[in-house]
């Protein structure tokens, strides 16, 4: 035994000689205890110092949590473990900071929106309603949103898809670089600018009327770069070996793209398109400029003004009556539900279409 100890090579430097592989560790429940403790400390400091804002309480608690677990870990476990805990607790704090606004937004919308939300609200329009009257509904706005977003998708999705296929499968040299550059630029176009462009081009210059279709064109401009970007990423993920395998079978390139590349990536592409749809469903500015808004049901997106969900929220909020506030919140809830359903559908498609590996 003593021989073994003697034979061990001497450890040089400042690191402690590792007598054993075991090191003191904080118990598993330590992070939870720190979280609870720092929450108590945060509240206590807040109460004693008489701070009004709960946000300040929370920030103090977060700071105590990060510093407290770092110091405790340094003392018990050593520097390397402490750094690990510091990074972990920072990630947790960042996660909470990101989630709290989201949850509070959802909570607020559900609480206030559920007041006016019922079946009548969903299948009635605002025709003949005064702003301060309770009742009325969002049916005309739902129709408008569905039609405008549907038309915008019908325009933007094919163009975006084909652009992405060009960039990934064919694009070489100056043209591809230029297309990529302009897609990047388009990503940054503010929605009001897209609206103004269609306004000056379609309504002022070509002299068409306000219509859902005019709004849909502006939405398509906003949607296209998103579709191009996400589709491009998905196509790049398709392994080159699959393309080569197909080409080596004597399959022409266009059929390779159509039958091998696209099916492999279709789940991701569908998700990308759905997310782009979700993004434009909430656009208000182009609708205000181009669709004009309406209180009555207009099923024809190519003629006469329509409404849409985000426009409806804006319209009811600016009316400034108690009844219209309720309607605005309820419509916001409908819009959130619409976007959420789209997201769920996209996830479903992605899972359904994902390449299968089961035996």
């Amino acid at each position: 035994m003593s021989n073994l100890v003697k034979d061990r090579p001497a450890v040089t430097g400042s690191a402690p000689r590792p007598g054993s592989l075991r090191q003191p560790r904080l118990p598993r429940w330590a992070p939870a205890a720190f979280a609870l403790g720092s929450a108590v400390v945060g509240v206590a400091i807040g109460l004693v110092a008489g701070l009004d804002s709960r946000i300040q309480w929370g920030l103090i608690a977060a700071l105590v949590f990060v510093l407290g677990s770092y110091i405790a870990s340094t003392v018990v476990e050593g520097r390397r473990q402490a750094k690990d805990r510091l990074a972990t607790s920072l990630v947790w704090v960042a996660f909470l900071l990101a989630v709290i606004p989201l949850v509070s937004l959802l909570y607020e919308t559900v609480k206030r929106g559920s007041k006016a939300l019922n079946a009548d609200f969903l299948n009635h329009s605002m025709a003949g309603m005064l702003d301060d009257q309770a009742g009325g509904g969002v049916y005309h706005a739902i129709i408008g949103t569905l039609e405008q977003v549907g038309l915008a998708t019908a325009i933007a999705a094919p163009i975006g898809l084909l652009t992405a296929i060009y960039l990934v499968e064919y694009g070489r040299g100056a043209l591809a670089k230029a297309v990529t550059f302009f897609v990047d630029v388009m990503t940054g176009i503010p929605s009001i600018v897209a609206g103004l462009f269609i306004l000056s081009f379609w309504i002022l210059w070509l002299d068409f009327d306000y219509s859902g279709f005019a709004g849909a064109m502006a939405l398509a401009i906003l949607m296209m770069p998103v579709v191009v970007r996400s589709t491009e990423e998905m196509l790049k993920l398709v392994p080159n070996e699959l393309r080569e395998a197909s080409l080596a079978l004597g399959v022409p390139k266009w059929r390779t793209i159509l039958k091998v590349v696209l099916p492999t990536a279709i789940g991701g592409i569908a998700t990308g398109v759905m997310l782009a749809v979700a993004r434009i469903a909430g656009e208000t500015a182009p609708i205000v400029l181009l669709v004009f808004g309406s209180k009555t049901i207009n099923n024809n997106p190519f003629e006469d003004p329509q409404s849409s969900l985000p426009y409806y929220v804006y319209e009811q909020w600016t009316a400034g009556q108690d009844a219209s506030y309720d309607r605005a919140w309820a419509a916001a809830l409908v819009l959130i539900a619409f976007v959420m359903i789209l997201n769920l559908v996209a996830r479903g498609i992605a899972r359904w279409k994902a390449p299968k590996t089961g035996r």
Partner: protein, 258 residues
């Protein structure tokens, strides 16, 4: 069915970089020709020039002639798609199409070319899978995904897929390098059977494998890093492994390299 390949003065580039220089050789029909040589000497590049897959790589271009019997693959008006239907290829890593079932994978070449009769398809798939020694293992799960097979089975699936379109030449780029010895043996046996019907060219890093499966062996080498690869010699496998005419070949084969 099987065709002779006559290569003369073939040089291939990646952009401005010359990858292989001035290669001339003959590949006999209904035989197995093995390419050996150190990494980076251009074996795979040369193989890919034989079915015009080299030009799929951005910047890839080729000078010289590849005669398939009496047709130049690089002649004007030759459709690379038609070339690849005549000269099939199996890759280093098994690459079945992940969205397709085992059946669809084998049928892919015919389906995607649109040239098949529905009634014949099942027969061709069965024949190809039997040809690749895979039929007995997969006949009960033809509609399961091809990606669910083991590595060795996937590689044989890829071979079945390649022979389903009835090519005349089959190029194999290190087909066993990702496989265990048992799957390797299965594929080597398969190569022995396939050479009755096809002209086979195989790239391999395994010299025992070259000695086992091939009738003729070509040794490639490069003068140094960044230099183009060259064909050192090609001869009967027996001669190459017992009494090569170039010293470098002997050094490489006996492990006294560099």
């Amino acid at each position: 069915m099987a065709k002779r390949i006559d290569v003369s003065g073939l040089t291939a580039y990646y952009g401005n970089h010359m990858a292989i220089e001035d290669i001339s050789m003959t590949v006999e029909p209904r035989s197995v020709t093995a390419f050996i040589g150190p990494s980076g000497c251009g074996k795979s590049t040369f193989l890919r020039t034989l079915n015009r897959m080299h030009e799929v790589t951005p910047g890839g271009r080729v000078e010289g002639k590849v005669m398939l019997d009496d047709e130049n693959l690089y002649g004007s008006g030759v459709d690379p798609v038609a070339v690849r239907r005549t000269v099939g290829m199996v890759f280093q890593r098994p690459n079945p199409f992940p969205t397709m079932s085992i059946f669809d994978n084998v049928a892919a070449g015919l389906r995607l070319n649109g040239s098949y009769k529905k009634s014949e398809l099942a027969d061709i798939v069965e024949k190809s899978l039997r040809g690749a020694n895979l039929w007995n293992e997969v006949k009960d799960r033809l509609n399961k995904p091809g990606a669910g097979l083991s590595g060795g089975q996937q590689q044989r699936l890829c071979i079945a897929r390649a022979i389903a379109v009835e090519p005349q030449v089959l190029l194999m780029d290190e087909p066993c390098s990702a496989l265990d010895p048992i799957s390797t043996l299965a594929i080597e046996d398969l190569i022995g059977e396939l050479k009755e019907r096809f002209t086979i060219v195989i790239v391999t890093h395994n010299m025992q494998q070259a000695a086992r499966v091939s009738d003729r062996t070509a040794f490639f080498n490069l003068a140094g890093v960044g230099q183009p690869g060259k064909l050192i010699e090609i001869d009967e496998t027996e001669r190459i492994f017992s009494n090569p005419s170039v010293q470098a070949t002997e050094d490489y084969i006996s492990g006294r390299f560099g």
